[in-house]
């Protein structure tokens, strides 16, 4: 009863949120007037008639409410419209560019969770020792490091000075690394993934350490020590499971943060992902793409939040549904 109501309420809220974001953005894009007119106003030899025809082609005629309704109707059918700049279905663009974005973010999340867990365990077990001090202080520093600065420094060191890693793009334009698409792609992923990993690991480590320190202070851990269990078993088996809960919920936030700042990551590394697609679309007022990318990112964020909420409840029986 409680669980179902909780789920329904969350779902209703998520739906309202997605609708709200789409409506606000759609209204704003409309407030600038007809994008076709703005884009072509400086081009010589474009008649009013051509603009009218093009506007009709992209569904830009008619009043605001009708057009929002039409847009919503096609979105429900997974039809994102046609890009004005690329003249391709937006759905296809989202798929191609979205996969490139996930190719960077999923490995980064995985890697940073592993590193942060290890570092957090070491720091929490040697609390106030030199290992703890160095881990915590470097995590504090890393936590304040702007992602793009990390990217710039990585490019400077590994691409320009050492010349070992590529600084831009997802694939080589001429000679593939060792003649293989896969190896070449992985080679290009190293720096962007490293940048995102640095960005995530610092915060996750601080979180891991503080929750582990909290858990290690609890009675059941004292009981575990008292029963003579080896340290490895107490920490890795008994404490870590509970210490993991805050970290898990934070993963959702982190994923959202990474998706949200994908434009920055992808500009630093000239990576052909959703963020880069979005930047071009904003510059060129490609409104179906702007709407499409925003919707994909909002939906992914909402789903991530929903999943972490659910995971929280499933993993931790102490949580009461509200």
């Amino acid at each position: 009863m409680g669980a179902l109501r909780f789920l329904l309420r969350r779902l209703a809220f998520s739906a309202a949120l997605i609708l709200g974001v789409s409506f606000i953005l759609f209204a704003l894009i409309n407030a600038i007037g007809n994008p076709i007119q703005i884009l072509l106003s400086e081009t010589p030899g474009v008649s009013e008639e051509m603009i009218a025809t093009l506007s009709r082609y992209y569904g830009l005629d008619g009043n605001f409410i009708d057009r929002y309704g039409a847009w919503l109707w096609s979105i429900v059918h997974f039809d994102f419209g046609t890009s004005i700049i690329y003249n391709q279905p937006v759905g296809e663009l989202l798929e191609v560019y979205g996969l490139e974005t996930l190719k960077l973010q999923l490995p980064a999340i995985l890697l940073s969770t592993l590193i942060a867990t290890a570092a957090g365990v070491i720091a929490a077990m040697r609390q106030h020792g030199w290992a703890d001090f160095s881990i915590v202080s470097s995590a504090m520093l890393g936590h304040s490091l702007p992602g793009f600065l990390v990217g710039i420094v990585l490019i400077l060191i590994f691409s320009y000075w050492l010349g070992v890693l590529p600084s831009y793009g997802a694939y080589s334009t001429r000679n593939l690394m060792m003649g293989s698409m896969v190896i070449d792609g992985l080679w290009h992923m190293v720096l962007p993934v490293a940048m995102l990993t640095v960005f995530n690991t610092a915060t996750l480590t601080l979180l891991m350490r503080s929750s582990l320190v909290d858990v290690l202070r609890q009675d059941y851990i004292t009981a575990a020590w008292a029963s003579g269990l080896p340290a490895r078993r107490v920490v890795l088996h008994h404490a870590l499971r509970n210490a993991f809960i805050p970290q898990l919920t934070y993963l959702g936030t982190l994923f959202g943060l990474m998706l949200g700042t994908a434009p920055v990551t992808e500009t630093v590394f000239t990576w052909p992902g959703l963020g880069a697609l979005y930047i071009t679309a904003i510059h060129q007022l490609d409104y179906p793409v702007i709407m499409g990318v925003t919707m994909v990112i909002t939906v992914m964020l909402v789903v991530a939040t929903l999943l972490t909420d659910i995971a929280y409840v499933v993993i931790d029986p102490r949580i009461r549904l509200g």
Binding site: L28, L149, I279, L285, I290
Partner: protein, 314 residues
Amino acid sequence: MDADFASSPVSVLATLQRPPAGVWRQAWHRFRRNRAGMIGLVLVTLVVLTAIIGPFVAPYDPNDNAAMLRGASNAAPSARNWLGTDRNGYDVLSRTIYGAPTALAVGLGAMLIASLIGVLVGGVAGYVGGFTDEALMRGAEFFMVVPVFVVILAVVRLFGIIVVGTPLERIPNFNLMTIILLLGLFSWPQIARMTRAEFLRLRHAEFVEAARCIGTTPREILFRHILPNALPPLIVLVALGIGGAILAEAMVSFLGFGDPKSISWGQILFFNYQSLKVAPWACLAPGTAIFVTVLGFNLLADGLTDAFNPRVRA
């Protein structure tokens, strides 16, 4: 015996009569002992001083690109240009110094807006409760789940087009003000949540009940009794938020959506990123400035957390 006691040089009575050290003084005593917090305070002071006196001591005018005419753009750091010149021939050090006031204006401006909205919404929600509370907090949640950065980018660009041809266009730094306003509009929910939690906690505190008993007006209770006691955790949030807003503006500007007429660290990065290979100093200087500022505010917030709640951390 009694006479002896009363005439002792350090009178117990006198000690008792001296008012106890206030919350703020106690917090400062604890803060001083926090290494991270003190480093943060030093860094923030450094940035503030740079913003105030920097423009008077900067070696060049920020819009002086005479170096380009000499053919000395992208010049390496030297005695003439301590941090080198960028691709447009500007002195990197001077432009980085002039970026400090912009950064502080962004951080303080955005958090001022966020605090005003947040305290108002959170206070009303916490004090009134019931349906109002529910509605306001759902609204706050809406702003927390929205992909803020992505929305800000689109809104800044679209707003830039909307104002063309209106009187708003002539306001200096209008674009920067839009960014500040948007950052403020999107960062109030955390403050509202914290204010609400504090108001709920304090609403039935003994000293508030006492004030109510002696007939203090609700307004006085809110502003003189509850709000000051709710301030400490809010100050921590604001310190964190200033760093966050500065970073966000830097990212917006780095992507080319900043205010072309103002000098900000993100803008310098945007203009010089193309020539990273030939003139890395032009990117590293503003990048480091952003890092130092954000780090300063984060450490400051960390120290303040410790100072205000000594029991939270061991």
